[in-house]
């Protein structure tokens, strides 16, 4: 096929950028920034081109490299891959700009940005993986590339967080490895096939159930599914851009994306339901949603509260994938993007608060809105989106998830979503209340001097993402919106669109 090399080019951009950045001397700031931004922009442009080709020409690209074990290394561009790829490419650019500002004059920047690029390369590989084998390779690479970012500060707490992170993710990777090897030898094929790999039909149900459990356990660690969520709050010791990336694009999303691939394109949702595995998975996701929200309520540390919020929000995606309804899948796929946009905004804003006024606790944020008006505006938009206030991003995905639940005759899903939204409001609205309506304290008083409250590299990225949070909600039906794209994917995976509920 012509253009078979395109996937490898997309992957190589950040893969080549990484060693270049490693090799850059610490003080060559301009050179390093140029490499970083050029790579990010180049990649975004290429992804835009691919999206255009896939949407209008119906093009598919696949690149293969034979390997000695398992199966071929396959990188392919399909609509689902592009959904995740465009999310990571877009947010990489923004996070890079943010990180350049955030880490100005900090030590070890070449190391940081090198691993940052490697991390994005791994995410790209995960998005492009054409089979479970390729997915596994980049999934492990992601673990390795994020560890140095988590421990970047090199404090004892950072090392402790890093150790916990590695313990969880390496164990998870091991389970995923066993599940994958087993699947490969039982079914003979690890390919991702729309609506499920037919090779699995010949495998006996008990084996399939065991494999499913292993794969989900492995992926659930990164997706922070209960009870494997423990690492996520610990990994909060990382610098703000890393937390933003971890929560919005890279690690938890890799887990959630993997679960979608496994449920929809390896097993197929029909087979998952037939094996009786869909309901337990949905139940676990629902439990994690409520559990994460309840935990978030109890946290006073802003970043930890946001971390538990992530535990809860990522499980929306898992919940949607586990329901046998195209509407739920549309909701899940949309939430993959929407949650990324909202959560990255929240984390960048939290980073700005820490950077500008060195406050980390929710209870200290009285009147911060006057000190950092723009930051808190972005924060407010994203928080309202999280709660699900129409017409913001979160509302659209939650609506589809609820509709999917009804479509799948699982009305309890609506209750879970309502309860979770209520809890979201309970742990997010007090922050907004404090920020805007309480009298400033000594720490938050001093009005912003000069033109900007904080340097533009720290302010622009959250404002852009906050604008996107509004945009994807308001213009949900526009071409190339996450909704339209998710609809394109979901109708392929589950070719039956119910009438009546949503057109």
């Amino acid at each position: 096929m012509s253009g078979a090399w395109l996937p490898i080019v997309v992957l190589s951009i950040s893969l080549i950028a990484a060693p270049l950045i490693f090799a850059t001397a610490e003080r060559r700031v301009a050179l390093r920034t140029t490499i970083n931004l050029c790579a990010a922009v180049l990649k975004l442009g290429l992804v835009a081109y691919l999206t255009w080709q896939v949407a209008f020409e119906g093009a598919r690209y696949a690149w293969r490299w034979p390997m000695a074990a398992g199966s071929d290394l396959v990188l392919q561009v399909d609509p689902l891959a592009l959904l995740f790829l465009s999310l990571s490419a877009g947010l990489w650019l923004l996070t890079t700009i943010y990180a350049i500002g955030y880490l100005e004059d900090a030590p070890h920047r070449s190391r940081f940005f090198g691993f940052f690029s490697l991390c994005v390369a791994a995410t790209t590989g995960i998005a492009l993986a054409g089979n479970l084998y390729t997915f596994l390779i980049f999934y492990e690479l992601l673990t390795l590339a994020t560890y140095p970012l988590v421990v970047h500060r090199q404090t004892p707490e950072a090392l402790r967080g890093g150790r916990i992170y590695l313990a969880y993710t390496l164990t998870g990777g091991m389970l995923l490895l066993v599940g994958t090897v087993w699947l490969g030898s039982a079914a003979g094929s690890l390919d991702f096939v729309t609506a499920g790999n037919p090779a699995l039909a010949s495998v006996d149900p008990i084996t399939l159930t065991a494999i499913f459990a292993l794969l989900l356990a492995g992926l659930g660690v990164k997706a922070a599914l209960f009870p494997a969520h423990g690492w996520l709050p610990q990994a909060m010791v990382a610098p703000a851009p890393v937390s933003a990336l971890l929560h919005a694009v890279a690690v938890v999303k890799a887990g959630a994306f993997g679960i979608i691939r496994v449920v929809e394109e390896v097993f197929g949702i029909a087979l998952t339901v037939k094996l009786g595995l869909a309901l337990p998975l949905a139940g676990l996701a629902a439990f994690t949603i409520i559990y994460g929200s309840l935990q978030a309520l109890r946290q006073d540390d802003l970043k930890r509260r946001l971390a538990y919020s992530t535990v809860s929000q990522v499980s929306y995606i898992v919940l949607g994938a586990a329901l046998f309804s195209p509407l739920a899948l549309i909701g899940a796929l949309m939430h993959l993007v929407h949650q990324g946009l909202m959560k990255i905004t929240l984390f960048m804003c939290a980073g700005n608060i820490a950077e500008a006024v060195h406050l980390y606790k929710v209870s200290d944020l009285d009147g911060i809105g006057r000190r950092l008006p723009w930051t808190m505006t972005a924060f407010t938009v994203a928080a309202l989106g999280m709660i699900g206030v129409p017409p913001l991003a979160g509302f659209v995905s939650k609506w589809y998830l609820a509709a999917g639940g009804i479509d799948d005759q699982n009305a309890w899903v609506v209750l879970v979503l309502l309860a979770s939204s209520g809890l979201n409001a309970l742990y997010l609205l007090p922050i907004l209340h404090r920020a805007w309506f309480k009298a400033p304290t000594a720490a938050t008083a001093g009005a912003a001097s000069g033109r900007l409250e904080i340097k533009w590299t720290l302010l622009a990225p959250p404002l852009v993402t906050a604008a996107l949070v509004i945009g994807v909600g308001l213009f949900a039906n526009a071409p190339f919106s996450p909704l339209s794209w998710a609809r394109l994917i979901a109708t392929g995976e589950i070719p039956r669109l119910p009438e009546g509920l949503i057109r």
Binding site: M67, L73, L159, G162, R163, T171, M174, V178, S185
Partner: protein, 506 residues
């Protein structure tokens, strides 16, 4: 067996290559080099590098011919078996030959590069006059070993390898190294004699020494089984299989770094290869070796994986971490034994694990040398000091990826194939053992790597050659070896096809 796909070359070049007996070149070149280096100590380094390079080239040519043209077979002196000695090489021998010569030549280049830089530092550098003859004769022994198809000739090659390894282990001149080398020597001699005892018993019963001839006449008589037990026990001892591994950590941990690299990467594999060769070509097909024997070897291997992993996790010195990791890796290789009944994946797994380990482990030991130079010691607690060059950290990270078996390294491919076979042919506990071992080695390596990110200590004033340690001369070879350990995984499918050339030596 059809030639391996993807290794085509022009006919003229192929004919040119085929016109020379590369096996003979690969054995005779290091022999001449070793003798010459012994006679001319002042020229030893030049002789050593030239001979190692030429031998590696010959070995690569031989591997190429085997990959494209099928197994190698030669009756030495024109005397066919059973009277004479036969040289033979199939895919398995070829893969290990390639590994030995590439890693060996790299280490030789490293010694030459760093030896020049440390002329005035006899403590740190390898004494050239002792190293070069012993290394070249060791190389000759290894090549002869992988090419031999005669159980007595295998004994002689085992002696060559064992004695030269002892000499190398004692080179550093330190008391600890000397003590460890003497214990190593004793173990080696005892193991050789036990192996020889097995050979004797077989010869007494069947009157032949050639592998293929023996295979045709061998029957599962009790005396034959006793011979098998003796030979396998001896080889397990030489390969440091748990619980006979006690000699390895001190011997490998106290030798000079390049020697540790050679011992850990290459020498341990040699005896292991003989065990595999005898098992696959002799004991298993003739029914002499029952499944129980393989299971015992596998269980000991699993114990080695766990014990070695645990010891590596708690060791206080970096070199001991690396040495215990060898104990664990040898365990994986022995775990392949009970899985061979099921099919060829386990053999490919064996080769991948062995080859990836050779590259990764040699890189680690050479990097240890650099650590020692930069920091003055190799205590784990010193590793967070800022004097450590960045190249060392990258080398460690890459080698660790392969040793733990993380993708896309050669170690990953090996582990994948091993898991695949355990799931297909082994009990579940086998899979669990592989996983636990992997987690242990991951923890051990993570412990080292986390040190690089530990809160930075102040640089301690050193009168050591710190500038030297950061030089490219020290970092180049380990970095390349570590990168190769990872890159092996990406070579595509042809190494697996190579392993399958010639199912057995005929």
């Amino acid at each position: 067996m059809p030639p391996v796909q993807g290794l085509r070359m022009s006919d003229a070049a192929g004919a040119l290559l085929a016109g020379v007996d590369w096996a003979a070149v690969a054995i005779l070149t290091p022999l001449v080099g070793g003798a010459a280096a012994f006679v001319l100590p002042n020229r030893a380094r030049a002789i050593g590098v030239a001979a190692s390079g030429a031998t590696a080239a010959a070995a690569v040519a031989l591997v190429w011919l085997i990959a494209t043209g099928g197994p190698y077979d030669l009756a030495v002196g024109g005397w066919s078996a059973p009277l004479g000695i036969r040289l033979a090489a199939d895919g398995l021998s070829a893969a290990l030959l390639g590994m030995t010569n590439l890693v060996g030549a790299s280490v030789a280049v490293h010694v030459a590069l760093t030896g020049r830089a440390t002329k005035n530092d006899p403590e740190a550098g390898v004494a050239a006059w002792g190293f070069w003859p012993l290394w070249l004769l060791l190389l000759a022994g290894l090549n002869a070993l992988y090419l031999s198809a005669d159980i007595f000739n295998l004994y002689v090659t085992l002696e060559m390898v064992g004695l030269s390894a002892v000499g190398l282990a004692a080179l550093s001149g330190k008391a600890d190294a000397f003590k460890a080398a003497m214990r190593y020597l004793l173990v080696g001699i005892i193991a050789s004699l036990v192996y020889l005892l097995g050979v004797t018993l077989l010869y007494a019963q069947y009157g032949v020494l050639d592998l293929a001839t023996l295979r045709q006449v061998m029957i599962p008589a009790p005396a034959t089984q006793l011979a098998m037990v003796a030979m396998l026990a001896a080889l397990a001892m030489k390969s440091a299989l748990f619980p006979l591994h006690g000699w390895l950590p001190p011997a490998h941990g106290n030798a000079t770094a390049p020697v540790s690299a050679l011992l850990s990467a290459l020498v341990v594999k040699a005896s292991l290869y003989i065990a595999v060769r005898l098992w696959l070509d002799l004991f298993e097909p003739t029914g002499v070796g029952a499944g129980a024997v393989a299971t015992v070897l596998g269980i000991l291997g699993a114990c080695a994986v766990l014990w070695g992993g645990l010891q590596a996790l708690i060791a206080k010195r970096l070199k001991l971490v690396v040495a215990y990791s060898t104990v664990a890796q040898v365990g994986y290789l022995f775990m392949c034994f009970p899985l061979w009944a099921g099919g060829r994946e386990a053999l490919t797994a064996f080769v991948y694990l062995a080859v990836a380990h050779a590259f990764a482990k040699s890189a680690l030991f050479l990097a240890c040398e650099q650590v020692q130079r930069a920091l003055g010691d190799d205590q784990m607690s010193s590793l967070s000091r800022p004097e450590l060059p960045g190249a060392v950290k990258i080398t460690f990270a890459l080698a660790a990826v392969s040793l733990v078996g993380l993708p896309p390294s050669g170690g990953f491919i090996g582990k994948w194939l091993l898991l695949d076979s355990t799931l297909l042919h082994g009990p579940t506990v086998w899979t669990v053992a592989v996983l636990c071992g992997t987690l242990l080695s991951a923890a051990a390596m993570a412990r080292v790597l986390a040190r690089f990110f530990a809160p930075e200590e102040q640089a301690v004033a050193q009168d050591l050659v710190v500038g030297d340690a950061a030089s490219w001369r020290f970092s180049l070879t380990p970095l390349l070896l570590a990168a190769a350990a990872v890159g092996i995984g990406l070579l595509g499918a042809w190494p697996a096809e190579l392993v399958n050339v010639g199912e057995t030596v005929q």
